[in-house]
Amino acid sequence: MKNIFYSIGKKLMIKKILLIIFFISIQKSIIAETIYVSNEKDHNISVIDGSSLEVIKTVKVGHRPRGIILSKDKKEIIICTSDDNRIAVVDAASLEVAYYLPSGPDPELMVMDEKGKFIYVANEDDNMVTVVDYRGKKIVKEIPVGVEPEGMGLSPDGKILVNTSETTNMAHFISTETLEIKANVLVDARPRVAQYTKDGKFVWVSSEIGGTISIIDPEKYKIIKKIEFNIPGLSKESIQPVGIRLDNKRKLAYIALGPANRIAIVNMNTFDVEKYILTGQRVWNLMINSDGTRLFTTNGVSNDISVIDIEKQKVIKSIPVGRYPWGVAIKE
């Protein structure tokens, strides 16, 4: 009898402990998340606490901060300061600029390889992609590309870098081994962002002025599908796709539509637009958090970011940040 009570008690105890652990872990995962937003006109980044969704600090980083990423160990925040012609590296713990990296002129967007060895930087004013050795703090190579290089998408195996050039209207496929262009695919006007699907089978490229998303087969260098957007009451010209985020399950894609002030949720298998969600004004860049529950958007004209609950497909909060919020990075 005693034994039974004991075992029931033990079971309850275990349940309780498990519950406590569960709640702690949930809370921990929310508390631990930090969001970094670059403010193009304010020369700083806003640091946002992921649980309270409030700005906890702004950090001066240099002139015209745009592209923003995290180092692989999440200990450093790396920011293109375009008008300073260099990259600022901020220590994530002290939130102070630790050092600078060379970048070539007017760095705009960048991507880091999986091993955290190289940063590939688009030099908008210089028609170049610059390869920077992150730990060695030096420029390794400059690759000439089209006019106003912008989007940078790295294949999951790290072998191919896709760079878009805004005025040349091309997606350049660059081998990261030889650092030479393998192929060029002509897309619609003013391509902005390039993103590989998780399985590496497709590349999604947004054309801001063309108003379309081109889905490219990176084996054949061919556009297999173009997605267009129609929003009742809005003229075609105001629908300007820029930011692209693809979920890890290859189910849904999130596209920021610029001055249409909306993001589109696109089914990645049928390529149909499932829903438009109203955000702040001139929504450009997007980031999904690590557990895939929230999407953050930068809204350049309303000077805020929208927080979207991915499951409910709803904006749950707008957070005012600096002027012209441009890029967003998230640390879990």
Partner: protein, 395 residues
């Protein structure tokens, strides 16, 4: 297996090969009318050197960056037409040598004469400086495109802004030259279109220098008039030289405190160096680096023109002018031109539809079309001559 290789080979040709020897050569002619500059009121107002040509040069550079990947080489032929030379004769000389693509920064008289040439067919002309409405209406030609906005476009852009501010009672002061008159007649149509009222119209025909007495003359000139905004029809004394005008002497000298628009005071135009939105700053800094001076509206119109030739030729891969024109006029043909909205052509008169900037000499004030002016097809068509009003008939 053979078939496979053959298919593979064909496929490889379809995508752009990185290196190849058979480069397609494209020559674009930029014709530039040289004027004898009239004595300016401002001796500090310097003449802009190579106005337009530098825009075309940058367009060629941009086209060639794309051309590097598509195996196309663009070349600019620059031709200045001296005061005693005939634009038509020079044009015909180029046509006889089979040049097809022209950027024209020439006077109205030059343009009319070229339009009468028998050699115009199979060529494509882009007008980068003339705003004349008749070139988009009765005198339109299917071989001619306009990247310069028309008078109707710029006056619509200005009046939309005034309407938005609810400044609707206007006093119109017009200069006496042909361009001033065209601006004045356009502003009257715009005012009617958007519900503004021209209370009175006065002609500025004084001919002497006002450097000493301007403050007194203009007080009397505007005394007793009941208006909210004073609007100037002041397009400059000489073609291509808007620096030489009377309008700068009006502000701050009126009878009552007055907002002055038009002329160089608040000017509706296609481009200005203070414009930096929508990637504009990239364009400005690229131009400054290449050209060592700030970018003018004529530079911009020329750049757009050369880029349009480039885009159409890159996409059509053809040098046949008819095919290129079909490509340009296609509804899907849109060009990124740093104005926040794609620019494209109106199929009814060959006019580039584009946002129009409202600028002061040193700053950007607003960009039209203003929010709230709607159109069934595109808001851009609230500026200028719409399809239902066109008097253009292409033969």
């Amino acid at each position: 297996m053979k078939k496979f290789f053959l298919l593979f080979f064909l496929f490889c040709n379809l995508i752009f090969p990185v290196k190849s020897d058979n480069v397609q050569q494209i020559k674009i002619v930029h014709m530039n009318r040289i004027i004898e500059r009239a004595p300016t009121i401002y001796s500090i107002n310097p003449e802009i050197k190579n106005n337009g040509t530098l825009g075309s040069r940058m367009g060629i550079k941009d086209n060639n960056t794309t051309g590097k990947f598509t195996n196309q080489k663009f070349e600019l032929i620059e031709k200045n037409i001296m005061p005693h030379e005939s634009a038509k004769e020079i044009f015909e000389e180029f046509r006889k040598n089979n040049y097809k693509f022209f950027i024209l920064n020439i006077s109205k008289d030059d343009f009319n004469k070229i339009l009468s040439s028998d050699l115009i067919s199979e060529s494509l002309l882009i007008n980068v400086s003339l705003k004349d409405n008749d070139l988009r209406n009765e005198k339109c030609n299917k071989q001619v495109l306009h990247t310069a906005p028309s008078y109707m476009m710029v006056t619509d852009a200005l009046t939309q802004y005034l309407k938005k501010k609810n400044w609707t009672k206007l006093l119109l002061i017009s200069g006496t030259n042909e361009r001033d008159k065209q601006f004045a007649s356009s502003i009257k149509i715009s005012a009617k279109k958007f519900g503004l009222k021209i209370i009175n119209e006065k002609i500025w025909d004084f001919s002497h220098d006002f450097r000493r007495t301007a403050d007194l003359e203009i007080v009397k000139f505007t005394q007793g008039e009941k208006y909210e905004v004073l609007i100037l029809a002041d397009e400059g004394n000489t073609f291509g030289d808007s620096g030489n005008s009377f309008g700068d002497y009006i502000p701050y000298r009126t009878w009552k405190p007055t907002i002055v628009v038009g002329g160089e005071v608040l000017k509706p135009t296609s481009w200005h160096f203070a414009h930096e939105q929508w990637g504009g700053n990239q364009m400005q800094s690229r131009f400054l680096k290449n050209s060592k001076r700030l970018m003018t509206n004529i530079d911009y119109n020329s750049w757009v023109g050369v880029r349009i030739f480039g885009e159409a030729i890159t996409r059509s891969k053809s040098l046949d002018s008819q095919e290129i024109l079909t490509q340009i006029m296609d509804e899907k043909f849109k060009v990124a031109a740093y104005k926040g909205k794609p620019v494209s052509f109106r199929k009814w008169n060959g006019q580039l539809r584009q946002p129009v900037l409202l600028v002061t000499p040193r700053a950007l004030v607003s960009v039209s079309p203003q929010i709230g002016f709607v159109h069934p097809k595109t808001e851009l068509d609230t500026l200028g001559i719409d399809e239902s009003d066109t008097k253009c008939k292409f033969n």
